[in-house]
């Protein structure tokens, strides 16, 4: 427990002093605001950009507020994930590669505390980012369009949070397994996008898969997913997070000897 507290403090100082605690949520908030605002101005934008003949009138029905929140999530699926992957790709691999880990590993280090402290901080920043970003999007959508049912929104946010925790766990695991930060990022992104592609192409054949979590999150804003499918999927997602944490602890320990001396 002592080691865990000490290492958690170290991770907190790193995230705070490298400003990750601030700028990552700010990026999420920015994209949360941009989406409703651009949607609001879409008619004007189309009007000024499109070279339509004079007098032509474009009729676009205003988007449903739920669609805007789903579009924000779509942004996070690309830019949000990219930011989190880049920010945490070096968590373990970077420390080994630059040799800062050496002075930790020579001590009787608890690798469980070591990996968990990193996971907790990265997850906390991930959660802070997602919730502040989604709340900003919710507020702007309310201002410019209509109010979305708040309970539905909470279910949406909570489900998407589970997805972000999966992403964070994967990045940290890759960072513990692979020899450097760049490979950890490439490995994480490759896995995320390849699996999503597979699920996108063949996903109609099954209903329970961690890759459907973002899809189910979006469904909460409408009629909600089928409870059975949702809970099995969420359960598997949580188990997967646990499994990745355990694997991360093991590989941190196994790869400790690869630290630069």
């Amino acid at each position: 427990m002592t080691q865990f507290n000490v290492l958690l403090k170290k991770e907190w100082r790193e995230n705070f002093r490298n400003y990750k605690v601030f700028w990552i949520p700010i990026v999420f908030i920015l994209f949360g605001i941009i989406e409703p605002v651009t949607n609001y101005f879409m008619p004007q934008i189309l009007d000024s950009v499109g070279n339509l003949p004079d007098g032509a009138v474009i009729e676009i029905p205003p988007p449903e507020p739920e669609e805007i929140l789903v579009a924000v999530m779509g942004q996070y699926q690309l830019i949000g994930i990219l930011v989190l992957v880049l920010a945490y790709m070096g968590s373990v691999a970077g420390e080994r590669k630059n040799g800062t880990a050496t002075l930790l590993y020579v001590r009787p280090l608890s690798y469980r505390s070591y990996f968990l402290s990193k996971w907790i901080l990265a997850s906390a920043v991930g959660m802070l980012s997602v919730w502040s970003g989604l709340l900003a999007a919710y507020y702007y959508t309310f201002l410019l369009f209509e109010r979305v049912d708040f309970t539905k929104f909470l279910k949406f946010g909570a489900t998407y949070s589970l997805w972000i925790l999966l992403i964070v766990s994967l990045v940290l695991l890759m960072s513990a397994v692979l020899p450097n930060a760049g490979l950890a990022a490439a490995g994480s992104l490759l896995l995320i996008f390849v699996f999503q592609l597979i699920d996108g192409l063949l996903g109609t054949y099954w209903t329970v898969s961690p890759l459907k979590i973002p899809g189910y999150a979006a469904q909460w804003l409408l009629d909600g997913p089928k409870p059975e499918d949702f809970w099995w999927t969420a359960g598997i997602g949580i188990l997967l997070i646990f499994a990745m944490i355990l694997a991360g602890i093991r590989s941190s320990k196994a790869n400790a000897s690869k630290t630069k001396v």
């Binding site: 080691q3 000490v6 800062t100 002075l103 930790l104 009787p108 001396v261």
Partner: protein, 293 residues
């Protein structure tokens, strides 16, 4: 009492042998220099002893597992932590309770000469300051065994002097094993020397032993002037060599016995100002050992 026993320690990377069949022991309270050129296996050996690397075969047994301090050649510090924060973390990870960790960290930082940089971020530190903080983290938990990888080779002469003095003040309470390729340093602080070449221990023993083993059976005779020196060499067919006002003379198989020389010299004692036995320096021994195939 031996604090560390190393037996047939071997480390292979694939087919490449980094360290081969190393056997030695460290007596408590002594200092041992691990000497060898770059790539001889010094860092590998120290990394195994520090528990960072697993050996392929062989054993390294030490009496007190937690009591190890390790200073890598280029200690890498977290740049966003201050010296005190870093050292406190190191102390606590080594099992020291919170309150004691703080007081001991301050004490240790003062000891290594960083007393005025307690709250400076290590990212702003110079090479010498990093080395000092590196040493501080190696000794903050008062280990019985200190492993130092080239502790002074990256420093300028002043810094080297200061760190050597710090190490010397730790010398007798702590067992020290350090690697170096700067032999003057080794000569200063060594009870035992280990010569490593291509992963193998080619020579080991106490400093005196090794020196005696490699001591050239030479004597140096100092004369009052160049003329008497030259005269001495001309007179005897002894394979002697003039060096300024002195003569270098091999004894034993290659030359005369000591008594012969003394009796010759006593006939004209006024020309002689001194006679001394040649001490081989570690540098010379090292060249000999390293050069031998």
């Amino acid at each position: 009492m031996n604090i560390l026993e190393v037996d047939k320690l071997t480390k292979r990377y694939g087919s490449e042998v980094a360290v081969s069949n190393l056997s030695f022991s460290l007596e408590e309270g002594t200092s041992t220099a691990l000497i060898g050129p770059n790539g001889a296996g010094k860092t590998t050996t120290l990394s195994i002893l520090a528990g960072l690397l697993k050996q392929t075969s062989g054993t390294a047994d030490w009496k007190n597992h937690s009591g190890i301090g390790f200073l890598p050649q280029h200690p890498q510090l977290f740049p966003w932590l201050t010296a005190l924060e870093f050292l406190e973390m190191a102390a606590r990870l080594s099992g020291i309770a919170a309150r004691e960790a703080r007081s001991r960290s301050i004490e240790t930082l003062q000891f290594v000469g960083l007393g005025s940089a307690l709250n400076k971020k290590t990212g702003t530190f110079s090479g010498g300051m990093k080395q000092r903080l590196g040493l501080a983290q190696a000794i903050v938990h008062r280990p019985k065994l200190l492993l130092l990888d080239e502790p002074v080779s990256a420093l300028d002469p002043t810094g080297r002097r200061e760190i050597m003095n710090l190490l010397k003040s730790l010398q007798h309470d702590t067992t020290i094993l350090y690697s170096t390729h700067i032999l003057n340093d080794a000569e200063e602080m060594t009870d035992q020397v280990l010569f490593l070449r291509r992963g193998q221990l080619v020579e080991q023993g106490s400093l005196e032993e090794v020196k005696a083993r490699y001591a050239e059976p030479n004597i140096r005779i100092r004369f009052q002037d160049v003329r008497s020196a030259a005269h001495f060499v001309e007179q005897h067919n002894w394979n002697a060599r003039v060096e300024g006002t002195s003569v270098l003379l091999p004894l034993g198989e290659a030359g005369p016995r000591m008594e012969e020389v003394l009796s010759v010299l006593s006939k004209d004692a006024t020309a002689v100002s001194g006679i001394e036995r040649q001490q081989a320096t570690l540098e010379e021994i090292f060249l000999k050992v390293a050069g031998a195939e």
